[in-house]
Symmetry: C2
Subunit: 333 residues, 2 copies
């Protein structure tokens, strides 16, 4: 009888502990973030600007948050996913182009020799592989690639290699009336194909570099065709320029990770009232990659770090601030 | 006593009639539209696509409606408001440019001789008057002009010369989960300055022709400067192209009034499921203007009318379908 009583007490205590823990977890909007100044600054910022009694209150219409994509929301090493897609596309088109076997940059790509390719050559390949077809056809090709191609290091699909802590931030902001935008140097159409399913960001809130398109008729049906010409590049100064073009308002929060995000963060900070600027620093060679000043992909130069410190931008340490990197690690955590 | 009783009955009857009428009015989402096939088609369309049990149901994320601006949402005769603004700007800048007195097209503008100005000359004037300054400065100049300049025929501010029936349609659509966009050949920045206050359309839902802008530093503060160069023109085929660039989805409703809207309506119709395409026909010389094939401003050519009839686009007769044209007429109606 005594034993039975003790068992009962233990059971009640255990249940109570479980409820408490679960409650604490559901109350934490950013469970994949380690406690620390960064996590605190995000939560504090949101609490402040949504508090009607606070002088820094921001009405919902002006709650604009902008996120870079590559290296901020998903993996960008050892190459941008869009570039891997374009190279794969060159390989699958190669049988129809025997001349590529002896022509650069195709030859290098067909032999997996990417290291000497210039940014210009890569840009050319991106434009070639995305033009000369309708936008619908391009999206079909991309969807098929995303659904069938796995990353060689992680053995996961690329759309699974998004950062769980950032998904939580985007969700947390939306729950507090923010309009969450992606502002990427990457291709707008490329990101829009998966942004709704993966980030819960609809196409109209994806801003990226854009090629020209042409409205044409095909069998009397209107079609939008990709043209091999750049309309604008949404990187560096192109980010605030594109933010103005698409949104017409200044963000109050901006997340980036590399030199290309510098002007977006400056532009965000230049508004009145409270502002939050953050940079993801890839310093986790074990779980992801460690790179900054020396990397060709996602360069985080010393001058950006200096500007960040001077302007009190937050530096997110992937290693220290993130409990898990990718969604599939959640159960292991 | 009998008379008193009759009076009472009459009073009760009159009150009852009043209540009935008032009730009917609050239940009418489009009170400034006369009963008829157009009004019915709009209401029926919205009821159908918002009914979850209907095979033509459209989820809120895809409820995209696009509206042309000049001649569809507000007055465009005898000249586009933006052009009147630009000409006024030339006049106010003239003292600083004595050379304009003998130089075309300035000379013609300074003498109010507009009839021979080419579209190219007008385009040049628009670009000149909006460039060489920051976007913030431009908006200040425009706001000041809108707040002080009245239309010569109506003696009302230009932002009061918007079409009441269209305000009701936009509002009705928003109440049913639509995202309402303006897609105009006019200048994006020009429309954004007043769109929130006048149409309840936020800047991020205004798509218009856009000049290039440059991100620059002024006293170490970032600024966006207008550059005298066109980025894209959102008219004719430029409308579906801009819709794709900004929204990435096909509209399910599109309103226009002239040849420049043709491709937007074609593009809207080319999607699957139910679609609604409408054109405002300016046939009311008494209350507004009557013009179509012969007008340089807001040309509604015979070939557009033919295409509209063939494709079952609705033609809105301003004269017959609209009870009132402008909001300030509501009390008179």
């Amino acid at each position: 009888m005594k034993k039975f009583f003790l068992e009962r007490v233990c059971l009640i205590f255990a249940t109570w502990l479980l409820i408490l823990t679960a409650h604490a977890e559901t109350n934490d909007p950013l469970p994949s973030w380690n406690a620390g100044p960064i996590k605190q600054s995000i939560i504090q910022f949101v609490q402040t600007i949504t508090d009607k009694n606070n002088p820094d209150y921001v009405p919902p219409a002006d709650r604009i948050a902008t996120f870079d994509n590559d290296g901020t929301l998903w993996l960008e090493q050892p190459m941008y996913t869009e570039v891997i897609f374009a190279f794969d596309r060159i390989k699958s088109l190669a049988p129809q182009h025997p001349e590529w076997k002896s022509k650069e940059p195709y030859q290098a790509i067909l032999h997996n020799q990417y290291s000497h390719l210039t940014a210009q050559a890569i840009g050319k390949i991106l434009t070639i592989t995305q033009s000369g077809m309708s936008i619908d056809d391009f999206k079909e090709i991309e969807k098929n690639w995303l659904a069938t191609t796995k990353n060689l290091r992680y053995h996961h699909y690329y759309t699974e290699l998004v950062y769980q802590p950032m998904l939580e931030v985007m969700n947390y902001l939306r729950q507090h009336g923010f309009k969450v935008y992606i502002v990427s140097g990457g291709g707008q159409e490329f990101i829009r194909t998966y942004s709704q399913n993966v980030y819960d960001v609809p196409p109209e809130q994806v801003i990226g570099s854009a090629d020209k398109i042409n409205y044409v008729y095909h069998h009397h049906q209107p079609q939008l065709m990709n043209v091999p010409a750049v309309l604008f590049i949404s990187n560096y100064q192109g980010k605030p320029e594109a933010i103005n073009l698409f949104i017409g308002k200044k963000p109050i929060i901006a997340f980036g990770n590399s030199d290309g995000d510098r002007q977006m963060l400056e532009w965000t900070q230049s508004g009145s009232g409270k502002r939050l600027m953050l940079l993801v620093h890839h310093d986790d060679a074990v779980r992801e990659y460690a790179y900054d000043t020396q990397s060709k992909v996602g360069t985080f130069s010393k001058s950006l770090m200096d500007e960040a410190k001077q302007n009190h931008w937050q530096i997110i340490s992937m290693k220290n601030d993130w409990k898990v990197i990718f969604p599939f690690e959640k159960n292991k955590a």
